[in-house]
Amino acid sequence: MIMEGLDESLVAAAQAGSTQAFSRLVERHQQPVRAFLRRACGDWAAADDLAQETFLAAWPRIGRLKAGASVRAWLCGIAYRKHLTSRRSAARSRTRDAAYEAERIAPAAGALDDRLTLETAMADLPPDQRACVALCLAADFSHAEAAEALDLPLGTVKSHVTRGRARLLIALGVPDDAC
C-alpha cells in the first residue's frame, strides 16, 4: 500500500536521525493516537497531553521499530502504556474527579444524547476492554493489530471487543443485529 510505503520511508529517515521525517510521522499519526487516547481515557485534555508524551517517547525508541511494522499500532501501544502508567499514578485524584463528574452529570441524565451515553458506557468498561473497543470498533484496527499494540493475546482481544460492543449497544438501546 502506498501510505504504508510512505510510513516505511519516513521511519527509515527518522531512524537515520531526521527530525523532519519524524515531524511528518507526527502529522500523519496524531489523529489515530489522539482519538485512541480520548476514547481510552475519556479526558480530552489529558489525552492530548499523553499523545504528546507518546510522540516524545517514540522518538528515542524509533530505532527499535522493525521494518514493515505498523507505525500506528506501535504508537498506540506506547500510548496505551503511557495511559496505564498515568492511570495508576493518578488513581486517587481520578477517583475524586470521577465522583465529582458523576454528581455533575447526574441532574442532566434525562437529556443525555447518544454521544454522552456512549462516553459514559465507555467509561464503565474495564481499561483493557475499553482499549480494545477504541481500537477495533472506532479506529478500524484488525484484532491482530490491536493485540500487537496492546500486547494482549488475540483471543482476549476478540472477547474484549465482543463483550464491549454488546455493552455499548445495550447502553445505546441499539438492537444487536449480529446475533
Binding site: 527530525t19 515531524s23 496524531q30 480520548r38 510522540f55 454521544r115 456512549l118 472506532a138
Partner: protein, 102 residues
C-alpha cells in the same frame, strides 16, 4: 459490518480529532527540540565539570610547564601575531568595496 456497528462508528467519529492539526504537531516538535537542547546542555555541563576537575587536579604539574613553555615561545608568538595583523590589514585594504546600485 452491521448497522449497529455503523452507528457505533458514526458516534465514535464525532469525537475524532482533526486529520491535520499543525498546532499539535508543532507543540510536539517544540517539546522534542527543548528536550534535546536540555540533554545537550546537560552533556556540555558534565564535560565542563569533568574538564574543570581534571584541570584543577593537574594544575600543580601543568603550571611550571606552561610558564617554561610560554617564556620560550613568547617571541615567536609576538612575531606570529604581528604577521597575522599585517596580513589582515593589507588584505583588507586590497578588497574592493561592493558597488552600490543606483
Amino acid at each position: 459490518m452491521t448497522p449497529a456497528d455503523h452507528r457505533l462508528k458514526a458516534l465514535f467519529a464525532k469525537d475524532a480529532p482533526p486529520a491535520r492539526d499543525p498546532a499539535f504537531s508543532a507543540a510536539v516538535i517544540e517539546r522534542l527540540a527543548r528536550r534535546r537542547c536540555l540533554q545537550d546542555l546537560a552533556l556540555l555541563g558534565a564535560f565542563s565539570a569533568v574538564g574543570g576537575l581534571a584541570l584543577w587536579g593537574l594544575w600543580p604539574v601543568l603550571q611550571p610547564a606552561l610558564i617554561a613553555v610560554s617564556e620560550r615561545l613568547a617571541p615567536t608568538a609576538w612575531a606570529l601575531a604581528l604577521a597575522f595583523c599585517a596580513v589582515a590589514v593589507l588584505g583588507g585594504l586590497g578588497e574592493r568595496a561592493p558597488a552600490v546600485e543606483s
